[in-house]
Structure formats: C-alpha cells, structure tokens
C-alpha cells in the first residue's frame, strides 16, 4: 500500500495547508519543508495517518556556505516504514541561527531521543520539550557545537593544549 511521494505531499498539504512551506519531489529524497512550530504535529500525522512507523535518520545541518549567502540551521527527518521499505519520505525544517528551536519528536519516535541529543550536541539545535536534552557524544562541559561551520576548537581543555602546530 505504499504511496507515491506526490500522494504523501498532497496529503500533508491538504491537512496542514500553509504550514507546508515548500514541496520538492524531483530529487533523490522527495521532501516537504515544514514550518518549525508545526513539525511535531506533521510528524505525528505522518506516523499515525501515513504509516511512517520508523524514523530512519535525523540530521542536524548548518547551511552556512563559504559565501555566507545563508546562515540558517536545519533539521532533516528521513521517514520510513517497516516492513514496507519502499514507503519513504523526508521532512525538512529551516531554523534561524539566533533562535534554532524546533519541537521534539522523541515521543513520536523514541529513536529520535538520542538523535536529537546528538543534533543538539554537534549542531546546537534546541529541541523543545525533549525529555533530556544533554550532550551525548562530547563531554558535558564541552563548549560550542562542532558541526557549526563557524566553530573553532578550544585552545585548551582541562589543561590539555590544542591547536598546537
């Protein structure tokens, strides 16, 4: 019963209207760009009504390029289904660098719990309502978010010298 990306996108647009900011189907992973505050509702709809019971991947992204045409952050959600492997879709959100907040989906797909902690740890995205938004890969007292494009690693960490040539 797998649906085509077009049907999925139409279903989302019908239900959420203006909250779906952009739809791109002619690409490797067809996706909808969702308004950040509506993300949790869209995700719940995807799980319960569209049959996406499995969150394949959650990636935090810093979209700031070398020419600095944009300094947005973003989160990319790759949805899938088990056992129907051909039922795929993708959701994206774009967040401002000053206030990168998006509602959590950890209660919708428990696997997002750790993925969101990782996105917070490495990209610095705040997941509103997350049960335990702490660093997961870096040490608890680490400063900064390593996957930000403007990140510079600290010169010392607990007396250990860094950036020494």
């Amino acid at each position: 019963m797998s649906m085509t990306p077009e049907e999925i996108a139409n279903g989302l647009k019908e239900r959420f209207g203006e909250k779906i900011l952009e739809t791109v189907l002619d690409t490797h992973d067809p996706y909808c760009l969702v308004e950040p505050q509506a993300l949790a509702d869209v995700a719940l709809f995807c799980r319960d009504e569209l049959g996406f019971n499995y969150l394949r991947c959650l990636s935090g992204v810093d979209y700031m390029d070398k020419k600095k045409t944009t300094d947005d952050l973003g989160v990319v959600y790759h949805l899938g289904a088990i056992p129907d492997a051909s039922h795929l879709f993708c959701l994206k959100v774009r967040l401002s660098r000053e206030n990168p907040v998006v509602p959590t989906v950890a209660r919708i797909w428990p696997t997002a719990d750790w993925h969101e902690r990782e996105a917070w740890d490495l990209v610095g995205i705040v997941f509103e309502g997350h049960p335990n938004l702490t660093r997961i890969l870096c040490a608890e007292d680490w400063e900064g978010h390593a996957l930000r494009k403007d990140y510079t690693s600290p010169d010392t960490y607990h007396g250990i010298k860094n950036n020494v040539v």
């Binding site: 394949r56 492997a85 660093r135």
Partner: protein, 385 residues
Amino acid sequence: MTDAAEIERIKDHGDVRSEEMLLNMGPQHPSTHGVFRVVIRSDGEIILDAESHIGYLHRCFEKICESVNYTKATPYTDRLDYLMAMGNNLGYALAVEKLLGVEVPERAQYIRVIVTELSRIASHLLAIGTYGMDIGAITPFLYCFRDREKILYILETICGQRLNYNYVRIGGVAYDVDDAMLKMTREFCDYFLPRVMEYNDLLTYNGIFLERTGNVGVLPADLAIAYGCTGPVLRGSGVKRDLRKDAPYAVYDRFDFEIPVGSGEAGTVGDCFDRYMVRMREMIESTKIIQQALDQIPEGDFKHPKVKLKPKVPAGDAYTAVENARGELGFYLIADGSDTAFRLKCRSPAFSNVSVLHEISRGAMVADMVAIIGSLDIVMGEIDR
C-alpha cells in the same frame, strides 16, 4: 517472572525495606565490548533502570569528512564499524556514487558483494564467539577466531589489510581480484558450511547457554521499530526486514537467499537467543550468496573508468542505506559541487540498537546485563563516531 509486578511483589515482601543501589558498569569492562558505560539502578539483584553513557571514542568523524576530500574520507569510514569495514566502505561509496550518478561496472559490483559478505561472516563470528565468552564459554571463541582468521587472510590477500581495508572505493574497488583468490574463497565456503554445525554443537544447544539467553532481554517488535533497531536485533524480534532484499543495492537482487528471523525457539520471540540465532543463520545465507556470486562473476573493469581520484560531486543531497552486519547503515550526504562533502551524517545501526538497552534490561537480573549487551552486538567505533 521478571516483570514490573514481580519487582513490586519482591519489594513489598515482609517488612524488610529494600534499598536501591547505583552500579557503574564500564567504561572499562570486558563485556561492554569497548568503552561503554551503563549506570544501573538496582534493587538487590534486579535492575530497576539503566542509563547508557556513550561518547568515549568520539572523534567527530562527520567534521573530518567536511575537511578532507571524498576519497580521503574513505579510510575514516573503515574506523566506524571496524569489524565490518567493507560494509562501511560500500555504504559510503554508494552514497557518493548516487550523487555522482555513476553506475559501477558489474565485476566491481560482484567483488563488492563477495568482500562484504565475507566481512559479514567475520563480524558475526566475532559476535558469536565473544558472546559465548560473555556467558562463560571460552572454547567456542577459539573456534570462531580460527575461522575468522581464514576470512581475514583472504581479505588480506586482496588488499593487504586485515581490518581497515579502504578497499571499496568511489567508482569501484581498489584492486582487481585474481583467480587464486576466488578459488581460495570457494574453498573457504565449502570448508565453512559444516563448521556452523560445529558451533551449534559447541554452544547453541548447550543447556547453560539456553538458560542464560532464553527469555532474557525480550525486545517486542513494535518497541524495536520505535527505537529504530535494525539488523539482527530487529530480525530477532520476528520482523522480516533486510535492505539487501527489500531495497536491493549492488547486485543483491540476483541472489537467492533467505532472511532468518527469530521465532522464540528458546522461549520468547525477541529474546537474546533469537538475536544470537539470527546471526548464526545469517552466516549460512551469506555463504550461499558468496557461492552464487563466485559462479556468476563476470570479466570486465573493476572500477569506473571515468571516476577521478578527486571527484567533484554535483550539488544535491541524498540518503543512502546499506544492510551492514549490525543493521541499516545510512549516509546522508549534502554536496555543494566541490570535491569535499558539505555535510555527511552517518546513521549508525548500533547507535540506535543500543538506545533500546534501558527498555529491555529493566526488570532483568544484574548478571543478565552482560547477556543483553552482548546480544545487541555493539561496536563503539560507530556509536561514538
């Protein structure tokens, strides 16, 4: 027996007040298979809750990939799941090739399948051997390592490395294979199939082993899917999901093989024994795939003639997933048209598999924690990245 009601019964028994204790397991512990720490909140011998702490091997693989070009990033993927480095190479190469839009020559596809499946057997052998040792059986470990050594020798003759191969490259493989290697692989397959019976005699149907793994760490199918578990952990819960069959890549659609799933032979579906047994049966299926690939392998190029050493990848983004020994290994690659990745996110299977640990260990005995962690078959290299 060990459900929440049972804990309540034990706690309320008589007028003796029970106290909770915090128990640190790891980061340096022989059965955590790497530097992995679990903080166990226990009531006597019963686990009330467990909290996993990861990150001890973190080296920010994803940041490294943003600073070196696509070809130079391949050796770093070796070090993710270092027990199945061929599979990581393959997943990464497929991710880049998807955006490059190249179709790899057939011979290279077959070589990729052969080395990946050899790697899968080697990885499962280590998982099974060390799992026996976790439970207290040392002999099977020696048998498993004896046969794993033969695989490592074959892979060493192909590419000169035993663990971190850097063999599957963007656009093909690094070197062609010769007839001597193919013959050696065929001999290994004939040798290996009867050995699986030997492991079964040694370990699988041993009474103590059955007692230690049956009905322990039961993972229901819906919980496994919700936590994003894949690979033998998910299949152990009775879910038939294997990307080699469901979304075939390379040339996996040309082979005839089964997907073993857990059926609760030693107790409940989704217990430690089922996860163990899925790995055992997968080794037979992998051997069958290798034998078919050896029969079908064509002559031809072993790498795409037009893929350069420093490819410039057209702008775009794509998620590519392969079925590794531990489950779905995914790479989400964003390219910006240069010779370096703009962003590479690695979705590692063991990361999601181990995130379910606190759910399935709740209510188990402390001694079973070792059995449960072993059955998840974690590799810290890819969890911490």
